[in-house]
Amino acid sequence: MAMVELQKVRRVYRRDTQEITVLDGIDLTVPEGEFVALMGPSGSGKTTLLNLIAGIDRPTSGVVRVAGTDVGQLSESALAQWRSRSIGFIFQFYNLIPVLTAIENVELPLLLTRLSRKERRDRAVTALKVVKLADRASHYPRQLSGGQEQRVAIARAIVADPKVLVADEPTGDLDARSAEEILGLMETLNREFHKTIVMVTHDPRASQRAHTQKHLDKGVLREEA
């Protein structure tokens, strides 16, 4: 079953009178449980494609279907609700909320659910255990290393148990050792927790950890390895 399915997707940005085609007729299918790496040079449209899959952007034309939902058809509020249930987003720069502790950051997506305070806390602790940071639950982001911050961000991405994880250069801001840890963790999430992962990366070593690599160039998927 296809977890992510894109059909003839175009994304055009308008800057003043100029139209810039960032994605041009993308067809992509990612089966459930797949770990896909999207590669390509800067400006090739990788992040735009990822944003479309994550439902934080809408295609100019074409169909984006994720976990059976036609994302382009959802209203703004329905899309937000859908994101909270179906998508876990991992940013390059972690984007943790600095005034919240690690566990509060992880708990944040659960504030949108009807879970009790205790249930939210329990789930956040479980997510932190998965990323092996339960002992840093009460630490603030500034008290964590880059690798640890990214692990907290991953815990936040998985805490609501989404079907799809999208990661925008998750190792781009990390040293080699931390990057290795993060990639290992993503492999575990894919292998043991059956998460479908779509990862944008520049790093060939990171892409090697994925099952499939897709290459984007000037808004077009060029080749498949």
């Binding site: 735009t48 934080i56 987003f89 600095p98 504030l111 949108l112």
Partner: protein
Amino acid sequence: MKFLPYILKHLRRSWVRTASTVLAMSVCIFLFCTLRTFVEAVTWNLQSAKSSLLVTRHAVSLVFNLPVAYKERIAALPGVRGVAATNWFGGSRRPNDFKDFFPNFAVEVADYLPMHPEYILPEDQKRAFLEDRRGCMIGRKTADRFGWKIGDTFQLESFIPPYRVGKPFEFVVRGIFDTDLARFPGTDTTAMFFQWKYLYEATGQRVGAGTYVIEIANPAQATAIARAVDALFDNSDAQTKTETEAAFRASFASLAGNLALLLNGIALAVMFTILLVTANTMSMAMRERRTEIAVLKTLGFSSARVMGLILAESAFLGALGGTVGIALGVVMIRNLTNVPFLGDAVRGFPNLGLSPMIATLGFSAALLLGILAGFVPALLAYRSRITDMLRQV
């Protein structure tokens, strides 16, 4: 409620900025509450003015008294039910020391009391008051303030030259009056009344009537009777000016109208400034948190919820500032009478205190200011696109 810790943590993030905004807001609400209280105190007793009463005074100024003989001529006019001479005595317990000041008047008691049913006095006390030349009746607030009981004596000395006779006037408390504020709103129970004849005789029958209070049968004829009274004395040395009690009080406190306008203007200007300051603070805070807003939206927070969080944060700032401001106001107003110079000016106001209505108004204003200040940043956050905000990082 589950978002409250999130809001509080953000307010603590830049505590200096939060504290200074709260302080600015609290000063604004403090000023608003204090000024409103002041205006209310000045205009409070205008409420108790009756349409059936006219007041006649010297046409030139209240400083000049009217001849005693005027009373009979006024009383003879058609439509007039009763006339009572009254003089503002301006007495204090210690000469030129207004710390213990309360309003005190010499009145022709037998004529004056029937015109003023708002002063509720037991019959036996009324009789005792009428029969004693040195007798007086005092309002409950003043009695409680000084712990005076029926039969107690005290002395007052006026600062008005014609009423200074070389020694203080001695009074005996013959009555303590109450009122029913539901029926007679604005009635002052700090006032004290004594026999006009006591003043007249003690001053060697040299003083006249400060004003004449005239009760008329039909309030609809107030203008005509007022004109008739003034016409009586058109060709005399002491011409008169007659007006309704409400107009008299308003003109007597003509300062009050202008003062209210001035003070309300100041309060509005301060509020508008604080609105701009708080709006700027909120805008700065939001600009710094563009990424966070984008992250929240990415996590599934709807635009409306993000907007709600920002408005809640802003309203919380307002509420905090309002609470501190009201607390400051309560303390300030309570101690206003101890402030040098200003204390003397406000001591004479009955009912000076931060009323629940003004406090509620102040708190609502703070809340509204908070919400208004946060509205534009909240709207911008509502409209912002996740991809745009993440791109600008």
